[in-house]
Amino acid sequence: MLPTPDTSHVSFDTIYEPSEDSYLFLDTLSSASESKWLIERFDKTKHTSPLVVEVGTGSGVVLGFAAAQSEKIFGRRDILTLGTDVNRNACLATRETVTNAIKAEQQPNSRTVHISSLTADLCAPLRPGSVDVLLFNPPYVPTEDLPRLPCAVDNDPAATAAMSRSAKFDNDSYFLSLTYAGGADGMETTDRLLDAIPGVLSTHGVAYVLLCKQNNPDVVKERIRGWDGWQAESVGSSGMQAGWENIKANVWGRWNCPYSSVTIEIGGGAFTCALTKALDRVADIPVKKLTTILVFYSLGPHGNGMVSYFTSTIASKGAELLIPTTIKLGMGSSQEALADAFLVQMTQNKASIFNRNRHVVKIIRLP
């Protein structure tokens, strides 16, 4: 197995932590069939150095992998890589991940180049017709609302540094929501990217876009085949069998805890109550898919009652409670401690809220 780029320097406060969907991307790009296709498509003897762009790089793990493994994936190392992300922290993280991954895997006399990480909305600043390979692991989870697009001031490091703890938490939650919340059918951001593809891809261009089942990949592929001169096919998939994992659960946990807006009574079970109410608010699809919930209560006489209330609410939504987990915190635990414990448990128990079935769809400009 080819090594996964190191992301130990990345703080996941506002950045999506590499998860199974990221790894599906790596496996797809380096699969025997895809690398064979890419090596032929960008044949060194016929083509100039390809520009490989990842949109929404997050930690940079996917772009870092494509860069560091360029010889295996593209059959050449003279690749130019560029990343975009709406989160400036993600751009800083990506630059480090990609350059480190290249150094770890390639000799100085033959190295792929990372030309820049740009803070940008999708492909907005890219020159039309310039991108040869486009990679996108979108925010694909269906959500009631789509978070607003950040503007320049949201990424001002000085403003973040001056924030109170609760303001910072809200800010982190906002940026994390951008990593997964996809609006209607989980497709609102992906649709904008798809619209941009014909303009931004080169005459040899190809795009790889990850979709989950709720995005209706078959409908998306049909739509692309309806464009003039384009083809779309699934080239990688995961989760055909039943199984659970922690996809987006950690960020989901943070985002949906109505954390900064409620008073948490340690010992009173109010947090559990608030969590249940939060579940009521999220769109139907995620709640129906919710099969594992971590029950969360503190020491106190009413805790167990709240757990029953919580359990029955979940049951009434037609979901199952598979792994009830108790997190016990002492009197006076802070809101931060509660949320941190919650996140740890969510991750450790591999709680899953979504069916893991996902596809990497390849979108090809035909000659």
């Binding site: 003279d78 740009l118 909305d121």
Partner: protein, 126 residues
Amino acid sequence: MKVITANFVTCAVKECKTSPASYPLHFHDAELEQQEQEFQPEFIRNIVPRIDWDALRTTANELGFPSLPESKPEGEALDDEQTLKDLHRLLLETQVSEGKLVCGNCGHEYMIKEGIANFLLPSHLV
């Protein structure tokens, strides 16, 4: 960000895309850093054909680099080691760490901080 980036970006404002004045974006107050990298002549040879030469000449000028040949090196000219070395230095070794990129059409300024350019627009321009 490496100087070559300027060859691949344009103004993020939709209305500017069709205007020739929006490309290339113009560097203002650029602080440069030289980051030594091993010379890879083959790489430069494979990059040059895809470069928009006029845009690169504009960029090089604005950054105070000695002017590039008027026409893009092709064929034998790409075997000249000095030419390739100069391009290697400009395209891959030179980093813009601070400054801004300015659109020649709408005048919007994209700030560059610690080598990261910010192309997010204020809400009234989205």
